[in-house]
Amino acid sequence: MMMSDSKKSVVFHLGFLALLLLLQFILPAYHHGNLARIMVLATYAMGYNILFGYTGLLSLGHAMFFAAGMYGMGLTMTHLGWTAGPGMLAGLLAGVLVSAGIGFLALRTSGVSFMIVTLMFAQAGFLTILYFGEWTRGDEGFVIRQADRVFAGIDLSHPTYRYLAALLLFGICLMLTIRLMQSRFGHVLIAIRENEERTQMLGYDVHFHKWMAVIASGTMAAVAGAAYALLFGYAGATFASVQYSIFPLLWVLLGGAGTALGPFIGTLFMFYLIDLSSSLTTAYMLIAGVALVLLTLFLPQGLVGEWRRKMMPWLT
């Protein structure tokens, strides 16, 4: 097949999505439910990957974008009585606004300062959610009633439709990521990661590109957050905490930063690793800790990254 590399990559990923579609009919209920959750969280990780894996900016505060989407949807549905569709839009819009604003401020710093500033903003966001507990119910969170989780007449709390909705979200975001990274804009992001000064001196507005990357990344994270609230019926402050900023970093590193499927593989792997270990001990985050240390020591490219390096260099 004399296909160009980029076409090969697109075909491969579409095939992968087809596989996920097939699984909807085959998987037993437990794994079926897990996979739906994994796909939504993987979308969050994919958003993170745009900024970290492709552009090379390490944010420690992405939970604020996830939460922006989650609460954007959750609050409008609960307090304003909006339905699912407008709720999702509210979540998306919240993501755009928060990421544009925070990005504008945070990009005035770089390197370690950028990491700390994003961490701090996210922490402030988390505390603000707690502070306005009257509306957000703080740590406890609030439930989005099953009756409201309906879109175009389809009950999204039903496992099948929930899975398909998650797959749709994941699929769209996966193909968008691929499209983005194969475009000229995506190539510039990678160039910025590889050598920022050189990229600037080749005529590219590096600051603008970074800002756009933050917005794309934050918005995808927010959409995932909104979808999570919609599909699993719950919004809570935990999702805005530091832990949920660390998770996508962990998932992306494990799966392979700068690969399109890395985030999914990483999320899948970690989900089941924690699933298995939490049946053994309450201290399952220990596994996460060990995984992080081992990863950064021995497998800096991640699972898909190493695979790509050795077997499929044309993979996006």
């Binding site: 370690v112 903003f121 201290a283 996460a288």
Partner: protein, 306 residues
């Protein structure tokens, strides 16, 4: 009712916070200054100090002063050694690459925290202070005989708290002397200024790094031992102090010890005073946003040089 005595109380409480915070932040600042890495597990070294202090005190029993003294020596030593090991096995291997170090120390954070959860459990346990006399806070009032002292009802601090402040001051001075007046301090500062040149002059940079990392962790542990008679030891107690010490180090200026101490005093005091008037959550929001904007608009902090 006078406001001033309450302000004094707030100040003393704030100074205790500042003392502990200063020690912890100096540890963090040292590590960043010399090694140029951010140690996210710093809060867990703090927590480990407190937990080990409880362990030592629990095992030894006997008079609280002796148990406390033992803890004060043993806990920081143990934690410092552990940190040195972590540096030599993990951080050195990844060549202190800034990103990989953050990831590795996040991993270390969870490992330490969760292992503590598994062994020590999720309860908070107290440690007895070596001494704890109640000291009432006096204030002035006008009487027929002129200005005289009186003791407002219910306002007091403890001898231990005052001792913590004093001890921290002595310790900080000791560190200042160490860094500026001893050969070891000179070696550390040389390595900080230019790692490669230091190496060319025969300084074993790897060993210096291990030492500094151990020293930083030891200081955090020490700070925790000091605070544990007041606070209790709990496996999650590292989280808030970590964020606070980040704030202190950034505002004070990364790599500047003097700036760190000044910032610690400022933040400790304001924390003590703000808590008298505001809810803790709002206070934390304000503090967090403050440091964020300092980083954005005045990246070198109060006195630091990036």
């Amino acid at each position: 009712m006078e406001l001033a005595p309450y302000l004094i109380l707030g100040c003393i409480e704030g100074l205790v916070t500042a003392a502990v915070l200063a020690l912890m932040a100096v540890g963090l600042s040292l590590v960043f200054g010399v090694m140029r890495v951010v140690n996210v597990a710093h809060g867990e070294f703090f927590m480990l100090g407190a937990v080990l202090a409880w362990f030592v005190a629990d095992q030894l029993g006997g008079h609280p002063a002796i148990a406390f003294l033992a803890a004060l020596i043993i806990a920081p030593l143990l934690v410092g050694t552990l940190a040195m090991l972590a540096d030599m096995t993990i951080l050195k291997r990844i060549s202190y690459d800034p990103e990989r170090t953050i990831v590795a120390t996040i991993g270390l954070l969870y490992i330490i925290q969760q292992l503590t959860l598994m062994t020590y459990g999720s309860n908070a346990r107290p440690v007895e202070p070596p001494f704890n006399q109640r000291i009432a806070i006096p204030w002035f009032e006008w009487t027929d005989g002129g200005l005289s002292l009186y003791w407002p009802w219910g306002l007091g601090t403890t001898s231990y708290k005052l001792a913590v402040i004093g001890f921290a001051i002595i310790l900080l001075l000791g560190i200042w002397v160490l860094m500026t007046r001893t050969r070891i301090g000179l070696i550390m500062r040389a390595t900080q200024l230019d790692r490669d040149v230091a190496q060319a002059y025969g300084i074993n940079v790897d060993r210096v790094y291990a030492m500094v990392f151990g020293l930083g962790a030891g200081l955090a542990a020490l700070a925790a031992v000091l605070i544990v008679p007041i606070q209790q030891a709990h496996y999650l107690m590292g989280h808030d102090p970590l964020l606070l010490s980040f704030i202190v180090v950034i505002i004070g200026g990364l790599g500047s010890l003097v700036g760190t101490v000044i910032a610690a005093v400022m933040i400790g005091l304001s924390d003590g005073l703000i808590s008298v008037f505001f809810t803790p959550t709002l206070a934390k929001i304000i503090a967090t946003l403050m440091v964020t904007f300092v980083l954005i608009f005045r990246p070198s902090g109060l006195m630091g040089s990036k």
